[in-house]
């Protein structure tokens, strides 16, 4: 198909699909991703959709986008795209800034009538000039061609128009030499219950592909090389699904049934939805009446002996604060997932930020320390969800898992782990025999780890009472004794601190001679790592350390930071992790790179700012 076209070999390309939120951009983005992953590409996606489910058609507020990077060495969905598909003028206006110089913009020129331009608030009749677009624009009569392809289908006009996205998908598949049968396979699955719609889409995807082939003389196309990945079985997974599956793995490895108490909230709902499906693995996922009931039902399940989890986003975490405090004082295992979004308040519900760190660390009344962990990538959500469960169960504490909208919605290829890749989780049980022997009381604890024992209700000989009131260190009875309270406060604190003995050390990705350390945490890993690698290519040696364990910090943190002349913390907030590190290590000079726009970092902006900080401080 492509032998007569100009083929450029790139190690990776970035495609951005954009249109009305009803135009099916997420669907075509997902299919393109899956097809690419299926031929061995690394993939990384970034759905960028509006808060409104259906904003007025053609309006700037209703534009939905899906960006995907495919190829080799893919760690992020890319800063800028090689190809932008814009289904209407509003999509063009919102997205043209993401197109690389020399990139290609594909527009449905049928949607560029005066009325469409007005809706997108263009003031002239030449939108391309008005936006100063220098990229190559491919004006494709998508609507006309889709209608023509389906003239004989017998479908009504509305159903026909819904196939426009698939025409574009066909065209993009042609541009990147994606195998159409694989795409058709996904369409068949998607429309399994609507054979007429499937047939129409199958026709249209070929029409789009053929159209691309027919006009090849006017466009450069790319061929994407595949990287031989580590041997194994792979699937495409987004961060929220990976989180859900990590919890299931922890349930299998701990022998405790998995319970989720939750409430729908963007962008965390996928976790609830995925676990609701997993009744086929025995998971009990309850949609409760509110966020508070979500965490409280999980606390009840934890007391009852389950691996108990609640999932939410920032505003929901605020509502759960009191409940988490109860789990702190009752010393019950509880995993709280916060898929961070833009705040404060309702903020930017569909956008990504790292602004809940302080809330996770400190957002409760009283001295109430919890463990906090944060995955680095969509697939790392699996590992860190597992780790959150392991820490919760083995250390009898609430653990907050801080993911974010970017990695929660983003996806990449993931090697399915073998059964022995994750360790057994050992619940800190007390047996009736041991209880009888030791005159056990509910707040007795292992003096090395400070972890209290888990007595599973239903067991004869272990009846006990716990609760939100302070308890006596020895007897477990209610206690108002001042010295006892202070002892319990420090004991709970020490219990969290000692988790540091049970987590991996901080790793550094090193460059020869580097005296600058770039530091990140959570979902910014891909961008920051790429920025450090890009800088190295330009001869600027910068080491890179990324935190996934936030509280406690890895035991070697101070030692690592002290090796460098400059420590730069880059994060998507005004400096919460930098403040936290600074408070723990006041002797270290920390520079900061911050962005709070509801958008991920761009690799180039990080590299530029790192360079500026180095230049300032030679």
């Amino acid at each position: 198909m492509t032998e007569e076209t100009n083929v450029r070999t790139l190690d990776k390309v970035v495609v951005r699909f954009s249109g009305d939120s009803g135009d099916g951009m997420q669907l075509v983005g997902n299919i393109f991703t899956n097809v690419s992953a299926g031929i061995g590409n690394q993939v990384s996606t970034f759905p960028d959709y509006p808060a409104e489910i259906r904003a007025p058609q053609g309006s700037l507020g209703g534009v939905s986008g899906f960006q995907v990077s495919v190829g080799t060495g893919v760690h992020t969905p890319g800063d800028q795209c090689d190809v932008l598909v814009a289904m209407n003028p509003a999509a063009l206006k919102q997205n043209c800034k993401y197109v690389k110089e020399g990139g290609v913009i594909i527009v449905d020129i049928d949607s560029f009538k005066q009325a469409d331009l007005d809706k997108a608030k263009f003031t002239t009749d030449d939108p391309f000039a008005e936006l100063g677009i220098r990229a190559q624009v491919l004006e494709v009569p998508v609507t006309t061609m889709t209608k023509a392809a389906l003239a004989e289908s017998g479908l009504d006009n509305k159903s026909v128009l819904k196939c426009r996205n698939i025409f574009c998908l066909g065209l993009v598949c042609w541009l990147f030499d994606r195998p159409l049968p694989a795409a058709v396979h996904f369409l068949k699955k998607k429309f399994a219950k609507k054979p007429a719609i499937f047939e129409a889409n199958e026709k249209v995807i070929h029409a789009g592909y053929d159209y691309g082939s027919n006009i090849h003389a006017t466009v450069s196309t790319y061929r994407i090389e595949s990287e031989p990945a580590r041997k194994g079985i792979y699937t495409d997974i987004n961060g929220n699904t990976a989180t859900a599956w990590g919890l299931i793995m922890a349930s299998e490895k701990s022998g405790r049934p998995l319970f989720l108490g939750s409430y729908p909230i963007t962008p965390a709902t996928d976790i609830l939805q995925e676990l609701a499906k997993r009744k086929d693995l025995g998971v009990k996922a309850l949609q409760m009446e509110d966020e508070i009931a979500g965490v409280c039902s999980a606390i009840g399940a934890a007391f009852a002996g389950d691996l108990a989890v609640t999932s939410t986003s920032g505003p929901g975490l605020a509502l759960k604060s009191e409940g988490i405090g109860l789990a702190v004082i009752a010393e019950l295992p509880l995993v709280v997932i916060d898929v961070q979004r833009g705040g404060p308040s309702t903020g930017l519900p569909t956008k990504t930020e790292q602004t809940d760190l302080m809330q996770a660390l400190y957002g409760r009344n009283g001295e109430s320390p919890v463990a906090v962990v944060a995955p680095a990538t969509p697939t790392d959500c699996f590992t860190m969800a597992f780790e959150a469960c392991r820490i919760a169960i083995e250390h009898m504490t609430p653990v907050i898992l801080l993911t974010d909208a970017f990695i929660g919605n983003g996806s990449s290829a993931w090697r399915v782990p073998d059964d022995d890749e994750y360790p057994a989780i050992r619940p800190h049980y007390i047996s009736p025999e041991a209880a009888a022997e030791s005159a056990w009381r509910p707040y007795h604890r292992d003096e090395n780890t400070k972890v209290r024992y888990w007595a599973i209700p239903g067991t004869e000989g272990l009846t006990h009472r716990i609760g939100g009131l302070e308890k006596d260190y020895n007897t477990g009875a209610i206690s108002n004794d001042p010295a006892n309270h202070e002892r319990m406060v420090y004991t709970r604190r020490e219990k969290i601190a000692r988790i540091a003995d049970d987590i991996p050390a901080l790793d550094v990705i090193s460059q020869p001679g580097a005296d600058t350390l770039l530091v990140g945490w959570g979902g910014t890993y891909g961008h920051l790592r790429t920025a450090a690698a890009d800088l190295a290519k330009e001869g600027v040696a910068v080491d890179f350390a990324h935190f996934r364990y936030i509280n406690p910090l890895p035991a070697n943190t101070g030692e690592v930071l002290r090796r460098y002349r400059r420590v730069i913390v880059a994060e998507l907030n005004t400096g919460q992790f930098a403040d936290y590190l600074q408070a723990k290590h006041p002797d270290i000079a920390i520079s900061r790179i911050n962005k709070v726009q509801g958008q991920p970092f761009m690799v180039s902006e990080v590299a530029e700012k790192v360079r500026a900080i180095i230049d300032e401080n030679r």
Binding site: K279, C296, G300, A301, T463
Partner: protein, 337 residues
Amino acid sequence: MDNTAYTPADYKSDQPVRWCPGCGDHAILNSLHKAMATIGVPPHRTAVISGIGCSSRLPYYMNTYGFHTIHGRAAAIATGFKVANPEMTVWQISGDGDGLAIGGNHFIHAVRRNIDINMLLFNNKIYGLTKGQYSPTSARGFVSKTSPYGTTEDPFIPAELVFGARGNFFARSIDVELQISQEVLTAAARHHGTSVVEILQNCVIYNNGIHNFITDREHRAERTIHLVDGQKMLFGKNNERGLVRDGFLLKAVEVGKEGYTIDDVLVHDAHCQSNFLHQQLAMMDGTELPLAIGVIRDVEAPVYNEEVDRQVEEVRAAHGFDSLRSMILAGETWEVK
């Protein structure tokens, strides 16, 4: 279930009971210990979960699994507990403030779901632990520390909320009616699904005598009616009065007077699916019509935790997986060799 016989003492913890002398909670606690012994579920198969307030101290006085939680959330915590560990018999203890104000949302949703827990609502129409503020069951005009000129709002009637939430079990007792308390608590435990038991309770310090109109020995026989399934709705010192139909409403009559005979007196049917008559009975307040105590409604309906378990079993039987890995491998994957 074990066949060992249990005595009330088996359900008592070693903790000293710290409610005020004369508080109605003492009597309710005794009734609960006795009811539990009658029911015979072993202490280690019993969980008592409470919120915050005077009544919510109750779990500490039970030799069972117990969880004294946070204000208003006991119903949500009990829901998670029961779904996770359905073998346990779960009692939830709340007061009128805990259950119907801060916990109102969890209360109605627990009832709506029909989770198999027994909810005890101690109703003293006051906030006792915070020392005397009006509650959501305080009458309009009630004077308290936070309503020095009287409240300007109407109260909830707990039964009405239960029926509004499509409840299937509602019973009522009075702290001083030990026998009836025991009877309704036992019935609540035997009912499948959410059982709500309202117990009119006296706060001797901050709302002493609030239920006197009902509980006064002199008038109690006229102002209350003890409803028993299958029995005539009779009340009065010598059961000389009865409830009869009056159009769509109820009327209290003297049996044998004004042409009313014993045949006109209604027979209580707590198991009737329709809650029409149950609501009318539950709304009687001791003025025109006697306040109803005993089991007012007791109807079987699908139970939330059992439905969850049934669905898990069905899904697993139809297309279940034995591990996460097998579930993943059944989906879209590719192999890199």
